[in-house]
Amino acid sequence: MTAYLLKRFAIALATLVLASMVVFAVLEILPGDPARLMLGMNASADQVELLRNQMGLNAPLAWRYLHWAGGLLSLDFGRSYTYSVPVLDLVRERLAVSLPLALIALALSTIIAIPVGLFSASRRGRAGDTVAMGAAQLGVAVPNFWFALMLIYVFAVWLRLVPAGGFPGWGAGIWPAAKSLMLPAVALALPQAAILARVTRSALIEVLNEDYIRTARAKGLPYRAVLWRHALRNAMIPVLTILGLQFAFLLAGTIIIENVFYLPGLGRLVFQAITQRDLIVVESVVMLLVAAVIAVNLVVDLSYAVVDPRLRSRQ
């Protein structure tokens, strides 16, 4: 077990270092100059040069990489070129929206998907299964910004139950803030739930064909107990893998939903930073996300061992 853990950590560390180099290099070749972008079309070349110097953009490449990477080690993520505040402050503000949103969406998606998957798998080929999987197919196919707009028209414009968008901040109270996250969470959760339900169903069907399921049934266990205790537990590995991927996606890949609901989330911060060539923000946020994805993968890897004792003893 210890060797397994050590190996996992070593791989995670190597991935981080490699990612930092790739991220830095890619953003270096990206055309566009943050100083020119700030000063616009009427500024002279001399002025742009002056601002480049003030921003520290004219220092040698290697020096800038080491300076930035060194900062990361001491958890100093640098200062935003455009906002001129520490990147970490920006990220903290955005996480206050993105993290709860991702967690709510993930919880919703799990709560919907697992029962639907169980239901479908146990009624394979029958009417209920067809309807459920048809709905799931629709959930995957419908573009989520369109679904989001429909939710807005029904619940914000017509029923006026929740705001059409925006985020008042947690300072405005838990209820107003949570209310503004409801529709985005549903809009995010549904397509994810559809995918997860399909994965759960196919994983379960595979397991239900195994000999030990027949044995369990033969020794007289009720179907329900077999399904929950034997089948679901063994079908968990692909489900957990997908959940891990979904969490990483929900944390930063939700730019479209953030735009439709004009939420100040992490995805929009990165997008805005890219368009403004606020390279230091892009680099640092991407690194944080890389770290988050690696951490999630690590947790998923470890949870395999929890659900499947065989993986533990093999190490």
Partner: protein, 492 residues
Amino acid sequence: MRLWKTILAAAVLALATGSPTFAARTDLVIGIPLEPPHLDPTAGAAAAIDEVLYANVFEGLTRIGQNGEVLPDLAESWTISDDGKTYTFKLHSGVKFHDGADFSADDVKFSLDRARADNSVNAQKALFAEIDKVEIVDPATVKVTLKNPQGSFLYNMGWGDAVIVSPKSADTNKEKPVGTGPFKFQSWSKGSSITLVKSDHYWGTPASLDKVEFRIVPDAAAYVPALLSGDIQAFPFFDPESLAQVKDDPRFKVVIGSTEGETILSINNKKPPFDKLQVRQAISYALDRKAIIDGASAGLGLPIGSHMSPANKDYVDLTGRYPHDIAKAKELLKEAGLENGFKATLKLPPPGYARLGGEIIASELRDVGINLEIIPVEWAQWLDQVFTKKDYDLTIVSHTEPNDIDIYSRKDYYFNYDNPTFDRVIADLNLTSDEAKRKELLAQAQKILADDAVVGFLYELPKVGVWDAKLQGLWENAPIQANDLTKVKWGE
């Protein structure tokens, strides 16, 4: 089943009681598409900075009114010497900055000297280039001496980049702007909104609104639901494509005004074959402005024939110079030895007018034998490749700065246009303050640009505003990109 219904009803009630009712409103939520990178108008070109702060938080010696006129602001009056080189400004007294500091001639000198200093990063530093010295006569009087007479000086001092700041707060304005205006800055929740509140010690007519929130709404698809739900009450810069959904709704006012945005098909004048006059003229003949306005701007926006807004008092109508004439265009290409047509690229920045207009222009030019390859680019890329490195054939962009016909005389500008006659007209114009003479020179300048077919002149970008029908006093036109809220109030 009963239980379910009860739970559902309770939930609906709980959710519904959140929305407050309003009596006489003094608050306003305005939707803006882009977030300002920071809040200092003297240190950045982003229009979003002025859209929040101009006239509301910061004031200049003069200011621009909603029809582009120059109005007194912190300077209550001024005199101009006979040689046109010395401006003496009489300042309002009793003016305070929002942090309590007194406003005086010192602040004017500080602000102007700061903007034109060697290490200045003012995005419009050229506005101050003619200033020779700024002298304090007494605390309420400032004398500005110019190197040469400059006809546009008072206008220039009305730009957002020329607002007066206090030496105490100049360095922190990016995060916490401190000005002299009727509103003071309250908070900025990054990525979400910027809030201003009424200033208690304003020197002029106080604002009617107590609180204004600028909410950042990046996606045009969200504009309509935000208006319909009442979350946001005004979009001064609305998306023309979404107008159909609100234009017949009596709850909203749709206001179409003018801007200073000349939307043009820029041409790289030094790159063959565009260095040939016939080729550029052929392009002008090939363009069907009406089709472009219909397709790229929902039929809104006035056609232009040179680089001047039709709303400008010095505008000359040159739209008849190159009527849409495919035969003529082909003939000109033949004269240029290109009867078999040629290939070129068209780089398009992100705005809708460029992306939609580009498709139409590409098809129009194909009709005369010019095959365009469309290359979509981001703004940062556009500024780098097209504007700075001049690595382009054709591009579409709206030049939104007011009175900017002089860009065609700038050395090394991205048009790569070089005409000594035009440069002389602009040089004369800069030295002329007599209105009649200026009008004549500006007419000449417009005509030269049209004759040379320097670029393909398309149309003037419209300002499409949509707001609550009860809201009064928002700007109809956008002579500069600003949301002046000083006269805005809620009616019955």
